[in-house]
Symmetry: C3
Subunit: 155 residues, 3 copies
Amino acid sequence: MEAGDVGSVEKRLADIGKQLPPVKPPVANYLGCKRSRDILHVSARVSPECGQVGTELDLGAARDTAKNALLDILAIVKDGIGSLDRIVSVEKLAGFVRSSPSFIEQPKVIDGASDLLVSLFGENGRHSRTATGVAQLPYGAAVQLEMVLRLGSGE
Amino acid sequence: MEAGDVGSVEKRLADIGKQLPPVKPPVANYLGCKRSRDILHVSARVSPECGQVGTELDLGAARDTAKNALLDILAIVKDGIGSLDRIVSVEKLAGFVRSSPSFIEQPKVIDGASDLLVSLFGENGRHSRTATGVAQLPYGAAVQLEMVLRLGSGE
Amino acid sequence: MEAGDVGSVEKRLADIGKQLPPVKPPVANYLGCKRSRDILHVSARVSPECGQVGTELDLGAARDTAKNALLDILAIVKDGIGSLDRIVSVEKLAGFVRSSPSFIEQPKVIDGASDLLVSLFGENGRHSRTATGVAQLPYGAAVQLEMVLRLGSGE
C-alpha cells in the first residue's frame, strides 16, 4: 500500500462520517508508537478537548472526546505503520478520565473509543480494557488513551 | 477439561476457604479478557466494595477488598479460557487504589491480591506489579485490578 | 558477563557522571521484574524523593526525580538479568506524577527518564510512553515509573 492510499479501515471511517485528523507529533521525548515483533505499543495521547469530566464536560461530551482522542491515535498509528489495515487485533485499550470527585462513569466515557474501535475493526476490534479516573491529566485534557495492537505481516 | 470441572487451582482456592464468585460481565463495550497467542490481557475490574481508602476503608479492609477484586477477575478468566489451570504464569498485576489525600500504603493494599496469587499459583504466581493511588475509580469502587497472564497450550 | 562486571551501558552512565544506586528490594509481595520469553515487565518503582509536583517540587526538580527513579529501576533490572547490556529495546515507559490540581506538565517531568534512556540505549532506547497525573502515590513519592523491555538472548 502506497503512502496516502486510503485503506478499508479508513473507508469504514468515512462511511460513518469521520476521517483521520492531521498527525500531532509527540509533545516530548517519546515515539508515537513502538513495534516489537507483531506487537505495537501505542503511546498515550491526550484528547484535544480539555476540562474536568463531571463539571466542565458531561458524559455525552466526554464520550465524544474519547472518540476524538482515538482518531488522533489512529492517525499516529497510520503514520507509524503505513496503513490501519495492518492492524490484526486490538489487544488492549487503556483510558484515563480527568474526573470530578463525584464522577464515577469512566467506563461509559471510554466506550466512546471502544465503540469506534468495534465499528472499524469488527470482532477483532473488541479488546481488553482499563478505564480509570484521575484528578489531573497532561495539559488539562479531559481524556487520555493508550493501546496495544497486534499487527499482521505485509511489510 | 469440561466446563464446570474444578481444576487444581480451584482446589487450592477451596483449601483456603474461598471460591470463585459468579461471573460479572463487563459493564461496558469491552471483553473480560483478550488472548494474543499465549498472552492473556485481563481487563481492569473494580472491587465489589466501594469507598475511599484511608477514610471509609482502613488498610485491612482495603486489602480484603483487593482479594475480592482478584476473585472476581479469576472468575472472568476461567469463564474466558475454561480453566485456571491453563495459567502458566502471572506476568503483571496493576492495582489502582482510590485513596484519601494522605493515604500512602497502596502497595500493602494490593498485597491482598498478590498474596492470593502466590497462594494459588506458587512461584509462577509471583509477578511484576504496579500499585498506585487515584482520587476516583469507576462506580466509586475502592480498588481496581488488571493483569497480564501467560497461558500454556492445551486448548 | 560475570556478576559485578561493568557493561557498556554502565560505562555510558559513568560518562555522564552517574552510576547505578544500590538495589532497593520490592517493598511488598512482588518481583522487581518478571521475564516472559524475551519480554521483561519491570515493576513500578517510586522515586526516592517525595512531594507534590507543582507545589513542593517544581518542574526541574521533578524531572531530576524522574531520572533518579529510572536509575533505581535500572539497578533492579541489572540485579534481575545480570547486565543492562542484555536490553535490546525499551518498548514502553509509563510514568505517574503526583500532581497538584493545576500542574499539567507531566510529559516534561517524565522526559527526565526518557532522555536518560535515549542517552544510554541510543535509538533502541526510544520508546512508547504514558505520562499521567495522579493525586496520590505510594509513600508520598513524587514520581512512579514502570517499563516493558525487550531482551536479547545471551543467557
